[in-house]
């Protein structure tokens, strides 16, 4: 960045430094990646799809030979299967996903906030991203959720630009990538439409179109729901919660400010209310994806 642009817009420069340092740190960690175990589940699922010759609704590659119903939305696994069929090693794929997707998430978020809310708020968002270690780790560990967050932000970006069909397509991709994040963004569109009447019809229309496009996967998920025998509040991870003290207090103050200030800021309030969906997974609500709004 030139001296002139630093003077005219220092916020973008500061944000650039933070984003670049994340990229450098991620690449420096290349040797220890993949750091988490969830990626092996996804790799094995992709291998299962390759063996099946496409999307299979029965998870025969785990708990073999009995298997179990497959509930996970397929977008990420299909993408992995594509790369694997093209000859990319599963270990390299795992490393690439964990190293790069958190950076892509941060760049997407920064651009979205910068374009629609200004560079100063974008800088503070990027700065606060670097505050929560557990959120950062959850972005690395829950790769499909990270990917779905990226699609969700891109979908909101298109909604703000009033390109409704593109917004609906991107929201559809969220539904085909992650269950929890699709509920979060579905509710965000609903609540933002409710809180901001300028966007009510548009957000409602986008959500309706995305739901129609996503009907096959929603029906599949609902049909398998009876096989679910536990949720996050009975998993061990609920004992590993981490709460950012200062950020939580600031967030609560920010919630009231967002409701009081201009209508466009109500998106943040809508996102917070939508994030309450994560409460059934206390770790994710307090320390993972719930930290985002």
């Amino acid at each position: 960045m030139s001296d002139k642009s630093v003077k005219t817009n220092p916020w973008n420069f500061y944000s650039g430094i933070i984003i670049s340092s994340l990229l450098v740190l991620q690449l420096a960690r290349w040797i220890i990646l993949p750091q988490f175990m969830d990626i092996y589940y996804h790799l094995l699922t992709a291998q299962g799809f390759i063996q099946a010759g496409g999307y299979s609704g029965w998870d025969f590659w785990q708990y073999a030979p009995m298997g179990r119903p497959h509930i996970y939305p397929p977008f990420f696994h299909l993408a992995l299967a594509g790369f694997m069929q093209a000859g990319v090693s599963p270990v390299i794929l795992a490393k690439l996903c964990e190293a790069l997707l958190p950076v892509v998430f941060l760049v997407t978020l920064w651009k979205f906030i910068k374009n629609h809310y200004g560079p100063q708020l974008a800088f503070f968002s990027v700065l606060l991203f670097f505050a929560s270690f557990s959120f950062y780790l959850s972005l690395l560990n829950h790769i499909p959720a990270t990917l779905a967050l990226i699609f969700g932000i891109l979908s909101l970006n298109q909604l703000f630009k009033k390109r409704l069909l593109r917004s609906a397509i991107l929201l559809t991709l969220v539904f085909y990538t992650h269950i929890g994040i699709s509920l979060f963004f579905g509710l965000t569109f609903l609540l933002y439409g409710w809180l901001n009447n300028e966007f009510r019809k548009k957000a409602g229309g986008v959500l309706l179109a995305a739901l129609i496009f996503s009907l096959p996967i929603i029906i599949k998920e609902l049909s398998v729901l009876r096989f679910m025998h536990t949720f996050g509040f009975s998993l061990h991870e609920r004992y590993l919660c981490q709460v950012k003290i200062v950020e939580s207090v600031l967030g609560l103050i920010g919630l009231f400010q967002a409701l009081k200030r201009g209508k466009e800021y109500r998106l943040f309030a809508g996102m917070f209310l939508a994030s309450l969906i994560f409460i059934i997974y206390p770790y994710r609500f307090l320390s993972g994806e719930g930290y985002y709004p």
Binding site: S21, L25, R29, Q35, M37, Y40, Y41, L44, G48, F49, Q51, G53, G54, Y55, S56, D59, F60, W61, Q62, Y63, A64, P65, M66, G67, R68, I71, P90, V91, L121, F124, L127, L128, F129, F130, A131, S132, F133, Y136, R163, L165, R166, T172, F227, M228, H229, T230, H236, L240, K244, I245, E247, L250, G251, L252, G254, Q257, A258, A269, Y292, P293
Partner: protein
């Protein structure tokens, strides 16, 4: 995160001092306290504490975190599994997540499973149904010995983490289920979606015109 950022923005706009930004940045990137809880799987006591200097930036910089990737051990174990089993033969590891790691690198079905929300369709004995059984060095030695004796397992390899056995009597295999949606159909749907995205503006204009005409 976004609401806290919004609060900081309002604060800075009200106070408008340069040093305040610096204080916030240093606080966020370095000091950053966290209230955390922790419980071991088999323990009943939960530990609560406040951790200082717990930002993502600092932790990533100092590479603090648990590491699960040990390439030498995992890849060598996966190579042994791959060399001693056919593609549909099942691998089982006494530690669930390591079972998936080895199976995914070796490209073999696993008797282990992640995503605990959905359990197996029917109960089964993974020791009996698996061609390859991987014990870890932290497994109970007596349990390993008795399993090896009962199932008449043959040792096919070991490394610093794992002892790998073959169950020659095992005839079970993972039944590959044919895809509900084949790749060619998924590719067509993806291309259609891509085309829709590409031509979105034109389609929206057409729909608008159509609605106005009605």
């Amino acid at each position: 995160m976004l609401l806290a950022a919004f609060c900081l923005l309002n604060l800075c706009q009200k106070i408008n001092r340069r040093y305040l930004i610096l204080v916030i940045a240093v606080f966020t990137l370095f000091f950053s306290p966290t209230f955390s809880m922790y419980k071991e799987v088999k323990e009943t006591k939960i530990d609560y504490k406040i951790k200082f200097f717990d930002s993502a930036f600092l932790n990533a910089l100092l590479a603090r975190s648990q590491v699960f990737w040990f390439p030498k051990e995992y890849i060598s174990a996966a190579k042994i599994v791959e060399a001693n089993s056919a593609p549909a033969e099942i691998t089982y590891c006494t530690l669930d997540y390591l079972g998936l790691t080895i199976s995914s690198i070796a490209n073999r079905p696993s008797a282990n499973g992640l995503l605990p929300e959905i359990k197996t369709a029917k109960a089964f004995d993974p020791f009996i149904d698996s061609r390859i059984i991987v014990f870890t060095r932290i497994d109970d030695a007596q349990m390993v010995e008795s399993t090896v004796r009962q199932l008449n397992l043959t040792k096919i390899g070991e490394n610093k983490f794992f002892m790998i056995y073959k169950n020659s009597a095992c005839r079970s295999q993972a039944g590959v289920i044919k895809a509900t949606l084949p790749f060619w159909l998924i590719s067509c749907a993806a291309l259609l979606l891509l085309g829709l995205y590409w031509q979105a503006a034109r389609i929206e204009g057409f729909v608008d015109k159509f609605i106005k005409n009605i």
